[in-house]
Symmetry: C2
Subunit: 275 residues, 2 copies
């Protein structure tokens, strides 16, 4: 953190530059469920891609990152994978300044993670991936060693039952807080780590901001999942008035007017950002 002598642009730099260009901390989750998209997309050869292209064209002006969740593509097997690939190619070709996050929550032994890193960073070409901390730093090295990418570690997730494991106390400290400290002090040697902090837990976001300095947080869970914007923005921005990637998925992509909804979220975030 805080290293200003960089040989090449990190993904954090890319994100911060985009945030300045668009004045937006908004990420849109491309969790494209074919059962929920309009017929005119569903009846095409590549429905997820066609729908994503429409959402990207509608929303890109207000957006600094896109985050497809892998499950919504694997759900349709080889064809779904191809549509995800088309989506990322489209973003890289047309909007190379926007950060692309693969929400995959991967985590396996080192030999296997090397395969995932190749698949997601090199074959698909994503800027960033979400990973699970459960198997430890050493297992995540194939992700962590990639200075040109970002590794977003699950910390306090947005789901209702997240506390069952994440709130367990280690010598008086909740597990999620222990992991946040580990990531910032030990795993972030290449200045490429971020943390997932659910929007549904603003007081945890406040605590984690104090622990991690300027580290960027991916905050899913506004919109359909019910996270409130004001408390998470007030608690979560870093001293640069950035440091948050705030994600909305269903509430934007299935809106009657996705552009309007994305703009509304961006502006609502900025109203509390203090920049």
């Amino acid at each position: 953190m805080g290293n200003t002598q960089r040989l090449s642009m990190t993904i954090v730099d890319k994100y911060n530059t985009r945030v300045e260009q668009t004045n937006s901390l908004l990420c849109v989750g491309l969790d494209t469920d074919v059962a929920r998209i309009p017929d005119n997309f569903r009846n095409t050869k590549f429905p997820r891609f066609e729908f994503n292209r429409y959402i990207i064209e509608q929303t890109h002006t207000f957006v600094s990152a896109y985050k497809p969740n892998m499950a919504f593509y694997e759900n349709n097997g080889a064809s779904g994978w191809h549509e995800l690939s088309l989506t990322i190619e489209y973003l890289r070709a047309n909007y190379p300044d926007i950060v692309t996050i693969c929400d995959a929550k991967r985590g396996d032994i080192e030999n296997t993670n090397a395969q995932y890193a190749h698949a997601i960073f090199d074959e698909l070409g994503f800027d960033a991936i979400t990973v699970s901390p459960y198997m430890g730093k050493q297992s995540l090295e194939p992700f962590l060693e990639r200075k040109d990418k970002a590794v977003i570690v699950l910390c306090r997730t947005s789901n209702d039952g997240a506390g069952e494991i994440q709130d367990l106390h280690i010598d008086g400290t909740p597990l999620w807080e222990f992991i946040a400290t580990k990531v910032v002090q030990e795993w972030n040697t290449h200045n490429n780590c971020m943390l997932v902090m659910g929007a549904t837990y603003p007081s945890e976001i406040q605590r984690v901001r104090r622990l991690v300095g300027e580290m960027t947080l991916l905050v899913p869970g506004i919109g359909t999942q019910g996270g409130q914007i004001e408390p998470i923005v007030v608690a979560g921005v870093n001293h640069l008035y950035k440091g948050l990637i705030i994600n909305a998925s269903r509430s934007v992509i299935y809106a009657d007017n996705p552009a309007q909804e994305a703009q509304r979220f961006r502006d609502k975030i900025n109203a509390h950002r203090g920049a």
Copy 2:
């Protein structure tokens, strides 16, 4: 556990039946890395599938389960996914008594896990999946509610650095042990849960066997990863002399004679099994 009035066969029943047929606790990991397979497979249209078919034909007599790791297929994108699909179709058509495990280590919010469950259980047709416990029971419900499938929860994994998170103490109990107890007491309501216990940690396997009764353990890490067979079998079998799915991947599939190697593992396991 111990419910003998079942309306239909669980995956545990399927596994135990197969174990009796073949007298084997061996699982072969189909972690097919195209860089390591012989040229005569690599130069075909579906190299992973062709190689897997060869391995299956060589080894099925000695095997009760096959476990492809998703990363080795995603590594090749849409085509890799198709080859995984062909592999599972081949197994279901020719060896329907063998248990199929998707080593995916998935774990996301409930809405997203529903997509993964559909992809892996219904589209690909696997009997079982490995999942991460980090986001809690509620998030895993789309897997756990499937009485016709098995859900294999990461507990103490086989990798060197596994202890960094998994050995953290919760009121004097290591996290992995806490999770084992939760799974057996709270998550296993449909008698469809298993645990991942790395072969490289036999004393942990001994402890977990005392905690979980007859629950089946998936034990990866013999062979290339260095886990020793005798201590894990002695410590891990349940009172039925079953309860273990012992996985070898690289040491079998890249052997000069995979059949001989699979038979050798099966027999070495049985030498310590006491059945």
